[in-house]
Symmetry: T
Subunit: 142 residues, 12 copies
């Protein structure tokens, strides 16, 4: 069993900037936690990040046939990208949308997710724990 | 440590009707699962359901001082109740909003949650697993 | 064959107040007319009223298996209650939405019905005759 | 006593097309049913159909003084015709709006009726029975 | 002369929670102040609170004939309840809408009051003094 | 010099119905007044009415080359007809939009005119005098 | 008989600037034409202009009892001034709204007139002739 | 194999008016081109035009069973006619929506097509070539 | 202690016009009542009126340091003036917004107050009593 | 003569996924068809695909001077990319927008095209035939 | 060469109030800086302020022919005044819109500028430096 | 001291295309001007351009710690990119938004800037001078 964690724009800055919104844990630390969790469960995981919408589209496409589930923190592209949505539909890999912050408590434009309707479920607001919860959910989805 | 699970209108019908949306598990079965989980973790839980908005308001108020976290499946009231929102703010108990279905993939009027902005986080779309994931999240919140 | 007539908030005031909108017939007089009609057709009817949204939700749920059709004058809750809508979907009892007044000729906020999309049909504007017409319709529905 | 039944665009296709929405009864069969009903009640009826908005306007005007009530299935023009609305106001004949399907459960643009505010009442969603219910209502209106 | 003070959802929490918005005075203290004021003016008052929309509807109905004026702090239901609005219209008791906080300075959804159009006037933003001002206004209304 | 007066749906009912909105003058009386005025100025006029949108479209087209100005009371079609607008653009005859009533003081949907942007000017609210004013304006336009 | 012509902001620039929209006639020339017309009809007229919303409000108020009709070219204030609207209602002088240009053919924000609903009628798009047409209309109004 | 070309309001004016939008080719010339094309392909075509919405509705209905495909330039009715939409659904003939101009580059109200959702495809902006392209598409559709 | 009462456009007409909306009391009579009240409480008051938005802006600015509270009936400018809002913020004088009529029960455009968010509270709908209630509130504010 | 075919995000998945929406033909097969067509007409074509918005922008820019026409299936970027629109305007190459599916019959957010207003025309809904039709159109454009 | 600096409502309060938004520099200090700058460049400047919309309108008109450029800080009137916009168009003086604060980062209603579309450019958010930057820009414009 | 100038999509085409909107100066010429200016002030500058949203995101991130200010002409991405906005917030480098054209005078969709709320200020409409003005502003910011 294999799960792909995809991270969108600016998540490479995690832990260094705006800790009042996103916390102080870096993306590498989250990756390490998830890899430990995965090992203990005998699950394979990959963990990628890109600032490019089109690269994320390509990686979602590549998940088809290669991964059993996709955990996607699309960050800013959540609210603007029809291309990511279409990639999820095209790939067909069961996908979970996650967010570090509770987007519903932030600016109006962050309340609409273009990708949620083609995902299985959404987990938002638990900081880095959103990743572990999604890991648990992903195992059960598949 | 004590966690309160509150269930809103029509959740007493769970498992008996519209299984294509909500699954076949009954609310009692979910309660049983959560109680088992809680026991294994040494956590106390309560698990209540009401069809009355005002009764849910009262119970949320009563969580203040008596519970360390609140897991709330407000069902239909999610989209229409300012009273529940104000109760959550007034009680101050850390609250997690959950849904069985992925509300973002359903009718337009289910896309807006009036209570999400005063909750810590949201978990939606994982069927009865939404409850277990919220249990895990609640433990870490507190 | 059994038909349930459910009446929402303020309908207990019928005939006593605002006769220019709702007419001078009381709810008891309407009930009497419907019971006479039902008797003449060999149909069983129940006729309940509540000001509580949650109580109406519970009664709609209880119609499942116990009644062949539901005639629902949800009054003010027509325009604000997702909970009633979900109860109708959950119960599965064929439901007819009725109104005494022609809601389309009144304030803007009365033009949208949250429950109509899950009902079989709508009858509005005929005063107490809306009930008798719905009775006829309900018999043919089932 | 005389009642005019007016039928708008595409109702001449009834029973031949899209039976999943409109049923399998033809307009002639509905007319026959209504004529039988009318005869048994000693009421005179006319039953016309046109695809032309302007012709329907003219016929509504002609109902003034010649008919005691008008039952109008304006079909598609329900949602787009201010001219029909003005004709109903100008003619002053008590008018009942009817629909075969439950328009509230269909596309968004079918939720608004331009003519309902100048009608006495609305009956929608009962297939050909909408016509018989309107006949009963029309008799009582006048 | 008799005046009824009705208090909506979460007002039972007053003074204990969110003092930065609602102040530190409890509802009992406000009631005591109003009772003192009433006594000094030779006016009878009642002072009730409920979290249940339907119970508030019933109490408003009961004001008809029993009270000369109604002072209503509908709290969260101000923005969502057509049922309260209809109850005020049905009861016909002259009604004053009050709020502790200045709702116009808070979230967008608190700017619209569904009940204001059927009230005589509105007083908002003066904390517990909103009640005394409404008491003065109520005496003059009747 | 020739001026065409075109009258839209329901204007054939003028003077007989809803005099509180449209006055008591009939369309024939208005025509007579305009013909007298025209004679005194040595201007030729035509004066037509139709309930059919498409017939009005055809007549507007025919004004091209045959009339020096068009005075158009499009009535209900003012608010719904792109076809009339396109006909005015296509014909190129200088056109004046007129209304008997002050449409800005009536229902919301009468506030938008689809044809005004392609007309030279608008005269509304002066009852039958709107026609004489438009006659004067039309003479000066050409 | 006395008619007041009031001119709003920037109309003092008429004829000097943007002739492609407003023509080349100055406000003084229009005034002269109207005064000649008035003399020939034995009517008294006044003709004022101000760039100050509040001054226009005062002048409209002063028309009460002193003038039989008011012709108002409110220019930019047409679209933004509730104060002018309230002044017209308060004064009670029959008022005609005029515009030089066809506002419906210009920017979106010029399509809404806040004052039209309290005027008797509207004349727009005929350049300086809008004033003469309004003069004729004003005579007949009173 | 038979294809029907239907042309809506004002298309009879083609080539004579507004050539900067619609070009200089007349509808007869387009018909001639299409008939030549059809002959060379051994396909039968009919080519009709009407300014009347209701007549277009009737002709669309008549295409059922008599034509294998319908090419529809509904012109102005594209944006306002639910009746045409319903006729296309009722007839069931595969339909292609065409436009001479690129409607997306014109006024806002031309951006919404009420009929496109029930057509197979849309071709817009190629002048008279839109007809030939639709002919090619129609042949392949059937 | 000093309180400034500022009155906006058209309030100089009070008592003379539209008594069904604003009552029959003149602004001078209200001023007299307030001055009596103030005297009895040992409070100094000023009472000014202007039709000019900019003059009101200046007076609000001048309240800074010279008055302890401001009672503002901005009338029509309530709904259109950002300048008044900014003046209130700039002056910093505690401000109470008042209205004679219940603006929430009138036209849609009177439901939004641009100044309420920067005021301490709002009192509306009590006719001239709105001034006395505001006087009481102002004393307690400071 | 040279024509560039540009394909946007996810079109590399064509034929492998969601055939019920996009058909079973792959992008390579479409390319082959177009190359055959081009050869037979003596036209040179290029056929590129990218998931990256910025790369598509660059390629559109490069079409300037190198290609006589551009056929653009922007897929998801059709609805979100101002950058593509600006690139088309900047390059000045005559551009045809195409879609495999009939976007007007899909989700609301696919109804708006940001690029259509700067294209010559649009062809949508004909599956892979949309490409051949666009080829024909492109030849005639230039 | 002459440049006019116009300042709108409440800017006379600058430096004394709300320094967290507008800074601590007074308008006189800004004027002094600009006069020094102007002198060093051999440019003549005028620097006026008014709280009256109509006075600003008049001053903008007077800039025509007397000034080579206009720098306008319309403050609150930026968002509500069509009259200022029309004055800028009428005067024809090249105009630069400036703001002390970054209006895009403040309340929603400050995001729309009614005057920007008729200005040459906009400078906002640099505190008193916005004036110096506009001075530089103005010199280059002319 | 170091300032980074970032240029978004299509700005590499500057000076070659659409000079009526963007002028005839190329991006290299602007860069040269800015480098000269920078040299004369003893400031270091970098000047980059990309058509890729994600690359711009990365560069903004890299400005953190390496540059004292960021001047950003995000071009088309101004209106669609939440990712750029988040990058600016994350990097924390003081940022100035610039535009060559006056975006407020162009299409509706260019009126909203997603990045302005997280920038210090905005300069738009001065052609290549927008860059020099921003340079001056940037120096003073830091």
């Amino acid at each position: 069993m294999k799960i792909l964690f995809l991270n969108g724009p600016n998540l490479n800055m995690l832990g260094q900037r705006e800790p009042e919104i996103y916390g102080r844990t870096t993306l590498s630390e989250i990756e390490a936690t998830i890899r430990r969790l995965a090992k203990s469960r005998g699950v394979e995981v990959d963990f990628w990040q890109s600032n490019l919408e089109g690269e994320l589209v390509t990686w979602i496409q590549e998940s088809a046939g290669n991964f059993d589930a996709l955990v996607l923190n699309a960050a800013a592209y959540t609210h603007t990208s029809v291309a990511l949505r279409d990639a999820i539909s095209a790939a067909g890999t069961p996908t979970i949308e996650i967010h570090l912050s509770n987007t519903a408590a932030r600016e109006e434009f962050r309340h609409r997710s273009l990708i949620a309707p083609v995902c299985r479920g959404v987990i938002a607001g638990f900081g880095s724990m959103s990743y572990s919860l999604a890991f648990e959910a992903a195992i059960s989805l598949t």
